[in-house]
Amino acid sequence: MPKTEYLQGALDLLILRTLALGANHGWGIQQRIRQVSGEALAVSQGSLYPALHRLEAAGLLSSEMSTSENNRKARIYSITAAGRRRLTVETEDWRQFTLAIRRLLQEG
């Protein structure tokens, strides 16, 4: 499993994107990122949970303790309206950024 370093901004983007599809708990978010990226992106718990709490403190996410699908206590995160706005902005930024990188790489 290749370890990929990425910017913190990218992690925020991944979390927001994942939650935009539906509320989920921390483990679910981690699994989803791994699956969707074809196992290319692995988010460690040490980065994931602080990021979740930071985004919540910034008002982009909300959370509540509830019961998971297998009847266990879990914290379920969902995206807020502010989070959706941020997602739109960040997605556009990321698109521009990757486009620029791609052009740079194709030049040679």
Binding site: Q45, A57, G59, A74
Partner: protein, 856 residues
């Protein structure tokens, strides 16, 4: 949302941690199950999950850090600040003490200002309350008649109209009789003023004050405590007021002052008594224009009482300083407090600056570890905020101690002009907090900004060398001390001028000798006093009684008592000089027996004294009057006119002076012979070694002449003492302020120089090693201090110019540009600066280079 989370995390930090543990446990379980699904054994699956998760504890802490946002870190700042302050107790005590003094003085001053100027009428909605007289446009004023007052109550002119008449009453308590101020009031007056509550018993109700039920009284707490010994069964008992038994129905708190500041007893009236007078107090309705109210009141008054046809109501405030001189002195006092406040804040600012620059290493370290400038600023400000909080607590205590002192220092004539009891109240404590906030902003902001400004990159390196202060901090520290010197210098100019005024006034030439003289003002109230011969007979026998009192050497009769106690005559006086024009003068006239001049030791400088053959129009003029009317010419034998009368000058007496801040108080005078005994004559007694007490005189005359009443008795000196009260208070307050400011400034200079010497130890060590003498090193530091003081003095001189204008109403025989005052100020500031610089300079000169080199 974010704030809610923050608050929640603060309040439920433990719970949040537990929740995270749950969250982590859930994650591990899910991961373990997923691993099992991939075909691992349970044990292996759990270990893999744990390994993948990494450090649970670190993650938990990281999460907590993100959640524990502003509020919690603010709390951390405060705790850190508290620890920092605890570690430096001496600094903390000095800074908090100075802030407490500044805040306390400010609060006490506000209380005085509030009572005397801002809120002299401490009742509900005081702007709507007024005292009303009837009068013409030409200036005559009469009290409102009861009929008019009743008409006003029935009209829509005012929301309420009540009456309160003041009078002095005699209270008999056991064997003694005391005189106190009382008021006869209509029962509704308490409701009109505000929600007055009794301490004990009840207020008047409308039935009180009806004829036959007027013997009920309300008594002030002050009177109850001082005269009636806080008798617990006081309400319901009876007391003797002006010889009549009256039942006490209630005790009013000492804070309630109305209609005068010294009223301590209230009697009811419903204004139905014969020839009763009313003195109207009204509350305007808030929904009606003043002009409309007064028009309605005029109409109602004219309909109710034919005598008021030509009159209309005139409105006056219930209380407050009306004299512009008095208002000016209170303003000067407030200005002084502001200066002291600024000096103390500048001083605290200097201390904070020195401390923060000394801790630059710590700040640099924190900045290197990632603290932002804002974070460091907050930390620095948290410390000054904590100091200010300490200062506020101390300030409230200082104010609490200062307010009773100010009540003693402020002349009674000023205190009697307010109904506000001058106590530390909620408004004042609100001001304490306001002063605290101002103090932290004034003293904390600049040091925090400078202390946390670190040149990027080289901060650690530069700071580590511990060499010198930054140029900015150095400049600001010295500028602060220069400002302190300037402010202290301004205060000192004020204090010197006021003290010299007081000394000048108390030593001013009075032109007469009043030591050992007591005066008695009599009222010859018997039927025998109706004809001149009868009055002369009573006067002779009274004089016999007085001469028998112990120590009495001389007795003289008069009408009008020098100084400043004659009959006033305003108008145009014309001398008999050929072609002389009338001169407009205010004069005092005394009617005196021939021996009065000897008794008061007023020499007759020209002509002769009175003889028994003189008529009322033969007069002795004072020197000032003589020179006004005849210039240098000899006035003896000349005459002058006043309206219809012509006076013949038989002698010239030395001018008598009445030193006062008000130059209009000292008037020229002339004397008439005592040809007829008036019904209210005055007697002056000169005694050796001292005159009997006023009470002894009263007692003697009361037993020998029951019909003769003593209206007033006392020493002549008390007039001067009363006149000196204001300059003495002004000088005392100004001196206190100047001492505070000067001490604080000296401390500020001392700490700035000591700090500079500590920072420049290496430099001084090297200089000494290179051959500089201790004398030379000492001079470097001394010069540093004296330059700062000189700049401050120069600025202070500029500050003092507007001050001299403000002090004009408090000056006597001295001006702010007076050279002696300036010499005193310069010498005091220079000596203080020398003293404050000496110790740091000496310690710099004593530095041992060997020791210093070893330290490196």
């Amino acid at each position: 949302m974010a704030l809610m989370t923050t608050l929640r995390s603060l309040r439920q930090r433990r719970r949040a941690e537990r929740e995270f543990d749950d969250e982590a446990a859930f994650h591990l379980e899910m991961e373990t199950e997923a691993n099992i699904a991939r075909g691992m054994s349970r044990e292996e699956a759990r270990l893999t999950a744990l390994r993948a998760f990494g450090g649970v504890v670190q993650t938990r802490e990281h999460v907590r850090d993100t959640r524990a946002l502003r509020v919690e870190s603010l709390w951390l700042d405060v705790r850190y600040a508290a620890r920092a302050l605890m570690a430096q107790r001496r600094f903390t005590c000095a800074a908090a003490g100075m802030l407490a003094l500044a805040i306390g003085l400010g609060t006490a001053m506000f209380t005085v200002l509030d009572a005397l100027i801002l809120r002299p009428v401490p009742f509900r909605d005081p702007a709507q309350l007024a005292h009303v007289w009837m009068g013409t446009d030409r200036g005559g004023r009469v009290v409102v008649s009861p009929a008019v007052l009743k008409a006003w109550r029935e009209s829509a002119a005012f929301e309420a109209a009540e009456s309160a008449m003041s009078a002095t009453v005699l209270l008999q308590v056991g064997e003694t009789v005391v005189a106190r101020e009382s008021a006869t009031v209509t029962p509704g007056i308490f409701k009109m003023l505000s929600n007055v509550r009794t301490l004990r018993g009840r207020l008047f109700d409308p039935t009180d004050g009806r004829p036959g039920e007027a013997d009920r009284v309300l008594v002030s707490e002050t009177l109850w405590r001082t005269v009636y010994g806080s008798d617990p069964a006081f309400v319901g008992s009876s007391i003797t007021v002006d010889g009549r038994r009256s039942v006490v129905i209630g005790v009013l708190p000492s804070d309630f002052r109305f209609p005068s500041a010294d009223t301590v007893l209230w009697r009811p009236t419903n204004l139905t008594g014969r020839a009763e007078m009313a003195k109207a107090y009204v509350r305007f309705a808030s929904n009606m224009m003043r002009a409309d109210s007064l028009r309605l009141a005029t109409e109602a008054a004219r309909a109710a009482d034919g005598n008021t046809a030509q009159l209309r109501p005139w409105v006056y405030p219930l209380a407050g300083l009306t004299d512009s001189n008095a208002t000016q002195s209170v303003r000067v006092l407030a200005g002084g407090v502001v200066l002291v406040f600024l000096v103390l804040c500048a001083n605290v600012s200097g201390l904070l600056l020195a401390r923060l620059t000394a801790r630059r290493r710590e700040f640099a370290m924190r900045a290197a570890l990632g603290a932002s400038r804002a974070r460091l600023l907050r930390q620095a400000l948290a410390e000054s905020a904590l100091l200010a909080a300490l200062g506020m607590a101390g300030g409230a205590a200082v104010a609490w101690a200062f307010v009773p002192v100010s009540q003693q220092v402020i002349p009674e004539t000023l205190l009697l002009q307010t109904l506000n009891p001058l106590t530390l109240n909620g408004r004042a404590l609100l001001m304490t907090s306001a002063f605290g906030v101002v103090a932290i902003l004034v003293s904390g902001l600049l040091p925090a900004w400078l202390g946390t400004s670190l040149p990027a990159g080289d901060s650690l390196r530069v700071v580590d060398r511990g060499a010198t202060e930054t140029p900015a901090a150095r400049m600001v520290g010295r500028a602060l001390v220069a400002i302190e010197v300037a402010l202290a210098c301004t205060l000192l100019v004020g204090a010197t001028v006021l003290t010299r005024s007081f000394v000048n006034m108390s030593q001013a030439d009075r032109g007469l000798q009043t030591d050992g003289i007591t005066t008695v003002w009599l009222a010859l109230g018997s039927s025998a006093a109706t004809d001149p011969a009868g009055r002369a007979g009573i006067a002779r026998s009274v004089e016999d009684q007085l001469r028998q009192l112990p120590g009495v050497r001389q007795v003289a009769w008069s009408y009008g008592l020098p100084p400043h106690g004659g009959m006033l005559s305003f108008g145009e006086w014309t001398s008999d000089r050929p072609g002389a024009l009338p001169i407009n003068l205010n004069l005092e006239r005394y009617v005196v027996t021939p021996d009065l001049f000897a008794l008061y030791q007023i020499p007759i400088v020209r002509g002769r004294g009175f003889t028994s053959s003189d008529t009322f129009n033969n007069v002795i003029v004072s020197q000032a009057l003589a020179s006004r009317l005849w210039g240098d010419a000899d006035p003896i034998g000349h005459s002058f006119r006043f309206i219809q009368e012509t006076f013949q000058v038989v002698g010239v007496a030395r001018e008598i002076h009445f030193p006062s801040l008000d130059p209009r108080a000292d008037l020229p005078e002339f004397y008439h012979p005592y040809t007829d005994v008036p019904s209210t004559p005055m007697v002056s007694l000169r005694c050796e070694p001292g005159c009997p007490d006023a009470a002894v005189i009263r007692h003697r005359l009361a037993s020998s002449h029951p019909t003769v009443r003593v209206q007033a008795a006392g020493t002549v000196d008390r007039k001067y003492v009363a006149e000196l009260a204001r300059p003495r208070a002004a000088a005392a307050v100004a001196l206190t302020f100047a001492v505070f400011a000067l001490t604080a400034t000296a401390a500020g200079l001392f700490s700035v120089l000591s700090y500079a010497v500590t920072r420049r130890r290496r430099e001084f060590g090297i200089r000494t090693a290179l051959g500089a003498t201790p004398r030379r090193v000492r001079h470097v530091v001394l010069r540093d201090g004296l330059i700062v003081a000189a700049i401050g003095l120069a600025v202070g001189t500029v500050f003092a110019i507007p001050l001299s204008g403000a002090l004009r109403s408090l000056q006597y025989g001295v001006t702010s540009s007076d050279p002696l005052s300036w010499a005193i100020v310069l010498a005091t500031v220079a000596l203080t600066a020398m003293a404050a610089s000496w110790f740091p300079a000496r310690s710099a000169a004593r530095l041992d280079p060997i020791v210093l080199l070893r330290e490196e």
